[in-house]
Amino acid sequence: MSNIRRLDPDLVNKIAAGEVIERPASVVKELIENSLDAGARRIEIELVDGGASLIRVTDDGAGIAADELPLAVAPHATSKIATVEDLMRVETMGFRGEALASIASVSHVRVVSRPNGVEAGAELSVVDGRVEGPHPCAAPVGTTVDVRNLFYNVPARRKFLRGAGTEAAHVTEQIARVALACPNVALRQSHQGRVLRHLPASADRRARIADFYGPELAADLIPLRRQERGLLLEGWLAPPASARVTPKWQYVFLNGRYIADRFVRYAVREAFRGLIEPSRHPVVFLFLATDPQAFDVNVHPTKIEVRWRDAGLVQSQVLAVLRETLLSRDLTPALRPSMPAPQALPPRQEAVREAIADYLRRATPTLRGAASLDVATGPGAAGESGLPPAAVSGDRSSVPATAPSPDVSAPAQPVDSAPAAPAGDGRWIDAGPSAALQFHNTYLVAESSDGLIIIDQHALHERVLYEQFRERLVSGPLESQRLLIPETVEVSSEQMSAAEQHRGLFARLGVELDAFGPNVLAVQAFPVALSRMNVAEFVRDALDRLVEPGQQEHPETLIHALLDMMACKAAVKAGDPLSAEEIQSLLAQRHLVDRSSNCPHGRPTTLRLTIHDLERQFKRST
């Protein structure tokens, strides 16, 4: 029989630590935030052994009075809020009063502090849960917190720590977030006694971006700004060509706090839709400022998520500023295609339809036999979106791009119930030659019963391959060619451990990786479907995708992310000329897969331009 009993306070702290303190980087984050809350102008972060042996954060902030030191390390003790009303309008980074206590429950902590105007400093230690001090001591104004032997009493966590290099990289990521949020605070970072970074206080965020991510990226950034309805949006976006394989390059800050917000993230993806390959992710640095009452950060102990009072507003503002900025950069706007199709075509529209059919028939000899083309249309397939037009990049300017409904997951409703028709999508005549024309080596255009269909060749092929891979995976791993002479790939230690950790996942994809040296992987087998691809590049990109920090994703999610990437890399690209046979085979495969109307990322593969639209655009109908 078990009895219910109150947990010992030390155990409570340890449990709390489990939520917030995951690795040295989390300690650094909490300590820096405390320094910022204390009004520090200078913060120094020192690490030994990636933080496993020592993390020291020193600031020149307000300091802690000697008699308050014991409270600072006590649980649920904070100087930052007192009432529930305070909680509703927090402007400090911390407010839970939990961090120091949590840290002290899983490490050996020493705090030395001297408030301004006080003669002597004071020192307090927590060793094996016992508080020692405060004792007076000599100290500069400000606070120094030493954290030693992190997780000394939590072997599971300690074992989970990666190499010093990896942990230091996570710490750098945390420092970067603070450095970008607070450019007016000077930062110094060192590891094993070597100064890695010394950032003077400056008004220039862009200089800090250059410091962390390289001058090239910083030089290409396009500034953006918008202030509307109580929300100030500032920052930069990188042009579509700088898109990355991982979404970690989307830095979003709210009132000086780094956040991961799905509404903002969605808006970013939406704004770049059609401008970058679906497997790539835009690079943006967004700084949002708004009334603290417009959101709640008390959602998650790490405060990385927020709950918006009006998420729709935030999303639409972010989308608007990104689109405006992209459009102002001479990325030619697209026309907005596709209104809902009328059920029956009036006579004059019937005539236009005939004319289009006629044109297509004459335009290409391969269209013989296509006169009976009969394509059904789902009214929801790409309905009236109410969104501003999306943009297309310059070299494909004359072809309309996407302006899809914001809710891409909304199921479209098929009008035609022919069995071969994928839900909500067009139906193609199975037999006969290719009934499409290729434009700008990028889009395929074909006739439908009520107008035109425009297909993004890359998006469609990507979808087809993705579905084929997915289907294959059900019956076992992807077919893979073994290598006679293994190909070697140089990787970081973080990538190395990801390769180790995700061995099974790679095996399912037909990729066999062996460690070949401290930083070298040997590829022993590689998927047949990717035979034309650069092996090393693929492996590196895949590992990049897997080591995105902060994403403890489910293996199924990861495998699909990699399938996406494979499909994207193996698919024909925009700009690839296709032969009539290739077009035909691509269109034929369109039936074979489900959901062919969207690429794996939800980007539409197909747009329709109905006769009704054309009539409206040409001002021929009322």
Binding site: E479, S480, I485
Partner: protein, 364 residues
């Protein structure tokens, strides 16, 4: 320069030159062919700064020696489409006149002195080998060379001179082909060279009688092949060619000796029902012989039986059919196919002169 030239022979020479001239180059002068008329004939020279060809047309009457440098594709097109048996070539400064019975073309040429000098065979050749033997050695390996590998050295074929024996080895990391040929005469010490594929395909396109002797000279960074009419010079690929002997398995315990033509036909037919992402053909060995099968999702399945003597334990293994066909097309008649395990390489041998190691695919 003034010369009357047999059109067909000139056409052959220009076609050979066109395999050398680069289609895209920052140095447009390399798209020209140098035409030199001298007593012994008309010499055409093409060069892309790595690969050079000097081709002698003997069926020509030279009344005035001279030289001109003209766009190769233009001259080739004029010669190809001409209905004449002979054409008259004449220069006037840097302009080249080409006259037929009813035609007169003037091609504005460029300054001959601008054309870079092309290396020639100097001194004694290291080897004299029959053109047929050389051709077969190349044909049996060149297909296995990598095309655009970042491992630069495997984008060519390794030539190894071992006494009078010349060995050719090529690999793309997935399979390896090795062939050997005997030279009629060899001097000097053993040597190795990694020869770029383009140099060898240029050789394969020459019309040379199989019994004509080809002079071969290998230097530290050049290889030169010389026939009666043509001299091909090429830079060598640098880098480290993989240690091929290490990857040739020595422990294959399952042997089968199918008829090469039937084997090829079976693989070819089984490959009809494969597609991009499931390419593999399954090969099942049993005492009944070999069963080839393939399956393309959504398309269908194929089974082909081939009688052959086999007494080992039954086994199944998958291969990329293209890899098998590539080798079966060139290997010769009496083949031995050796296997060990489904995830270990297979070997195809033909006599002592041809060896092919191929890695399997993992079929699910």
């Amino acid at each position: 320069m003034k010369a009357i030239c047999d059109r067909v022979m000139l056409n052959d020479a220009l076609n050979a030159a066109l395999t050398v001239t680069p289609t895209r180059t920052p140095k447009p002068i390399l798209q020209c062919v140098r035409v030199t008329a001298e007593k012994a004939g008309l010499i055409l020279t093409a060069y892309d700064q790595e690969l050079g060809l000097r081709y002698r047309v003997k069926e020509v009457e030279v009344s005035k020696p001279g030289e001109v440098l003209v766009m190769a594709d233009r001259l080739a097109a004029i010669v190809r489409d001409s209905p004449d048996e002979t054409l008259a070539l004449e220069t006037d400064g840097s302009t080249c006149h080409v006259r037929g019975a009813d035609s007169h073309f003037q091609i504005y040429g460029q300054d001959v002195r601008e054309f870079p000098p092309v290396p020639d065979l100097e001194g004694e050749p290291d080897l004299k080998i029959q053109a047929g033997a050389l051709r077969s050695g190349i044909e049996r390996t060149i297909f296995a060379a990598a095309r655009e590998s970042t491992r630069y050295a495997i984008n060519g074929v390794l030539w190894e001179k071992r006494g009078k024996r010349l060995q050719f080895i090529a690999t793309d990391g997935r399979r390896l082909a090795k062939a050997a040929a005997s030279a009629d005469k060899a001097v000097g010490s053993d040597a190795e060279a990694i020869v770029p594929s383009k140099a060898m395909s240029t050789f394969l396109r020459l019309h040379v009688a199989p019994d004509e002797l080809i002079d071969v000279k290998m230097t530290a960074n050049q290889i030169i092949l010389r026939s009666d009419r043509a001299t091909i010079s090429s830079v060598l690929l640098e880098g480290h060619f993989p240690d091929y002997e290490k990857v040739v398995p020595t422990d294959c315990d399952k042997k089968i000796e199918p008829d090469a033509a039937e084997f090829l036909s079976a693989v070819k037919r089984a490959a009809l029902l494969t597609n991009e992402e499931s390419k593999g053909v399954r090969i099942a060995l049993s005492s009944d012989g070999i069963v080839f099968s393939s399956r393309a999702p959504q398309q269908g399945e194929a089974t082909i039986r081939l009688a052959a003597k086999y007494s080992g334990p039954a086994m199944e293994i998958g291969f990329n059919p293209t890899f098998l066909m590539d080798a079966l097309k060139v290997c010769g008649e009496n083949i031995v196919f050796e296997l060990k395990e489904p995830n270990k390489p297979g070997i195809l041998r033909c006599g002592t002169e041809f060896l092919y190691v191929v890695m399997p695919v993992n079929l699910s």
